[in-house]
Subunit: 307 residues, 2 copies
C-alpha cells in the first residue's frame, strides 16, 4: 500500500523507536509502539517515502514491523540488536502539559551509533531526531548533500552537550523545539528574543512548538504563527511534537518545494497531523487516518484562521 | 481632536476608572490612569466615539479628564462623588502571567450603581465591563435596544454571583473572558468544551482570551483562532484584555458591521491594540499611538498569519 503523493522525495529520520506505557486522565495503554522517530515516520509517511533509522531489540515484534511496512516506511535502517527495545512509562497530570516519567529503559538505544545504508544516505530530506548531538552530527556527515535538514533536541542535550549542539545548528535548516527548550537554549525568557538568539547560532529557521497553543516559525526575515487545532478532547499528547515535525517535513518532501511560503503550509500540515495523533493513545489514531481526513482538517484549519 | 472614522457609531462602556501602581520585572510606575473601562474606552476611541460610564472620586485630576477628552471620549457619564477614585497596586512575577494584588481600595467604586444619561442610552454598542452582574443587568435595561452587547466578568462574580451572571448571558452578543474564567464558568477544563457549555447558557458568542497565546472566538456555527502578536518585550500586561475588547468593539462600531466575518477582523484589531498597550506601563503607549501605526501592525498581523 502506498498513500504518498506521486513525485514525493524520500525523507530519512534518525532517532528512537520505543514501546510506551501511557497513563493519562483518560486511561492507560501498555506497550504502545512509540518513540520520536516512529511518530515522525508514521506522520511523514502520509506524504512521502520515509526511511526509519533506529535501533530495535530482539524483542521487537513482527507485527510492528508489518505495520511500518504497511505505511510504506523503509525499515532497512532499523538495526536489530541483542537486548531490549527502548521502553518508556509516563503518566500525565490532570493538566496534560505536565507528565512524570515512571520508568525508562533505554535498552539498545543506549549504545546507538548509527551507520546509515548507502541507499538511505541519498535521501534529500533528513530529520535528526532527539539523540546526542555528536551522533546527530555523525549522521549528518554520512549524508551526501541533503536538501533540507531538520533537527530536534531536548533539555538534556542543551544542558549536557551544548557545544556540539550549537556547532550543529549552522548546518540545520529547521530547528524544531518546544518553548521551554528555546528558553533554555537561548537563556532568554521571551520567545521572540529566544528565537532571534538561536538564529544567531546559525539555524536557518526555528519552529517553536507551544503544545495546545500552536507553533511559531522564526526565520531571519519573517515570523509565522499558527494556533493549534482546537479539540474537544486531548486524549494523550504523546508523540504530538514528533508527529507535527513528520507532517511538516512530509509536506515539504511531497511537494519538493522548500520555499518559505510552502514551509508555512507545511507547518499547517504538521499542526493538522498533531491534532489527530492526540485523539487516542500513542500512535493509534494514525492507524485509521487517511489522506482525505487530513485534507478535510486542513480545510477546517483554513476556516479556523481566515479573516 | 477626533481620530475616529467617519460614520462610526457610538459605544458606551460601563466599568471601572482607577489609578494603578504597577510593578513589573521592568520597573515600577505609580498612579497610572487605569481601570478596565478606561483601557477599553481609550482603545475603542481610535475607531469610534466612546462614552465612558464610571465613578470617579473627588481626587480625580483634571489632567486625566483632559486626556480622555482629547481622545474624543465622552466623559459626561463619569460620575464624580465624594471619596477616592479606585486604586490598585499590583506586582507581576518574573512570569508576567502571574501577579499579586498588594493593595486594593475600591473607593467610590464600592457603591457604584450607575444611572446612565439619556444621550448615552441611545448608543448602539454597549460594553458591560467587569462589575457585579446585577449592576450589569441594571445598566443593560437602561439601554433602549443596543445593537450589540459585550460583557466581561471575573472569577469573583462567577463564584459569588453565578445566578445573575448566567441569567445575563442570554442577552449578550459577545462574552469576553480569559481561559481561566471560561473554565470556572463552565466547570470544563478543555476550552472547546468550556465554550460549548457557555454557549449553551445563551451567550451568542464567546471570545476566550489567552494572553500571550492569542484568542479564540466560539460561536454556534464557527470557531476562529488567532495567535497574539509576538513581541520582543512585554513590558506590562496591565489592561491588555480590556484594550483587546476596546479595539474589537471599536472596529465593529466603526464599520457598523456586526457580521461574523467582520467580528473576525475586529478580533484582529483587538489583538493589535493589545499588542501596543503592553509595550509600556499601564496605558502610556496609547498616548503616542495613532491610526497609521495600528493599520501598519494590522498588516504585519496579516503577514504573520497568512499561509
Amino acid at each position: 500500500m502506498s498513500s504518498t503523493q506521486g513525485g514525493a522525495e524520500p525523507i530519512a529520520v534518525v532517532g528512537s523507536v520505543a514501546f510506551d506505557t501511557l497513563e493519562t486522565p483518560h486511561g492507560r495503554a501498555d506497550d504502545e509502539l512509540g518513540g520520536a522517530a516512529t511518530h515522525f515516520a508514521v506522520a511523514a509517511s502520509f506524504f512521502a517515502p520515509v526511511a526509519l533509522v533506529a535501533p530495535i531489540g530482539d524483542d521487537f515484534p513482527q507485527a510492528a514491523l508489518a505495520y511500518l511496512a504497511e505505511r510504506g516506511i523503509d525499515c532497512t535502517g532499523l538495526e536489530r540488536r541483542a537486548g531490549k527495545t527502548f521502553r518508556w512509562h509516563g503518566r500525565y497530570h490532570e493538566d496534560m502539559n505536565k507528565r512524570d516519567t515512571l520508568h525508562l529503559d533505554l535498552g539498545v538505544f543506549a549504545t546507538f551509533a548509527p551507520t546509515v545504508h548507502e541507499a538511505i544516505r541519498r535521501a534529500p530530506y533528513l530529520f535528526l531526531g532527539n539523540i546526542d548531538p555528536v551522533l546527530q552530527r555523525s549522521v549528518l556527515e554520512q549524508f551526501a548533500s541533503p536538501r533540507l535538514v531538520g533537527l530536534d533536541t531536548m533539555n538534556h542535550w542543551i544542558a549536557e552537550a551544548r557545544a556540539p549542539l550549537e556547532a550543529l545548528l549552522s548546518r540545520v535548516d529547521i530547528l524544531v523545539i518546544n518553548d521551554e527548550e528555546a528558553r533554555e537554549l537561548s537563556g532568554e525568557d521571551n520567545i521572540v528574543r529566544a528565537a532571534r538568539r538561536i538564529l544567531g547560532y546559525g539555524a536557518r529557521s526555528i519552529i517553536v512548538k507551544r503544545g495546545e497553543y500552536g507553533a511559531i516559525l522564526f526565520s531571519p526575515e519573517s515570523v509565522f504563527a499558527v494556533p493549534a487545532f482546537p479539540l474537544e478532547r486531548v486524549f494523550d499528547p504523546t508523540g504530538a511534537g514528533d508527529t507535527f515535525a513528520g507532517g511538516m517535513m512530509g509536506h515539504l518532501a511531497a511537494t519538493g518545494d522548500v520555499s518559505h511560503a510552502n514551509l508555512r503550509r507545511a507547518i499547517v500540515y504538521g499542526t493538522v497531523l498533531a491534532s489527530f495523533v492526540v485523539e487516542d493513545f500513542g500512535g493509534r489514531r494514525m492507524r485509521t487516518l487517511d489522506r482525505d481526513a487530513i485534507e478535510q482538517r486542513y480545510r477546517q484549519f483554513v476556516a479556523l484562521t481566515t479573516f
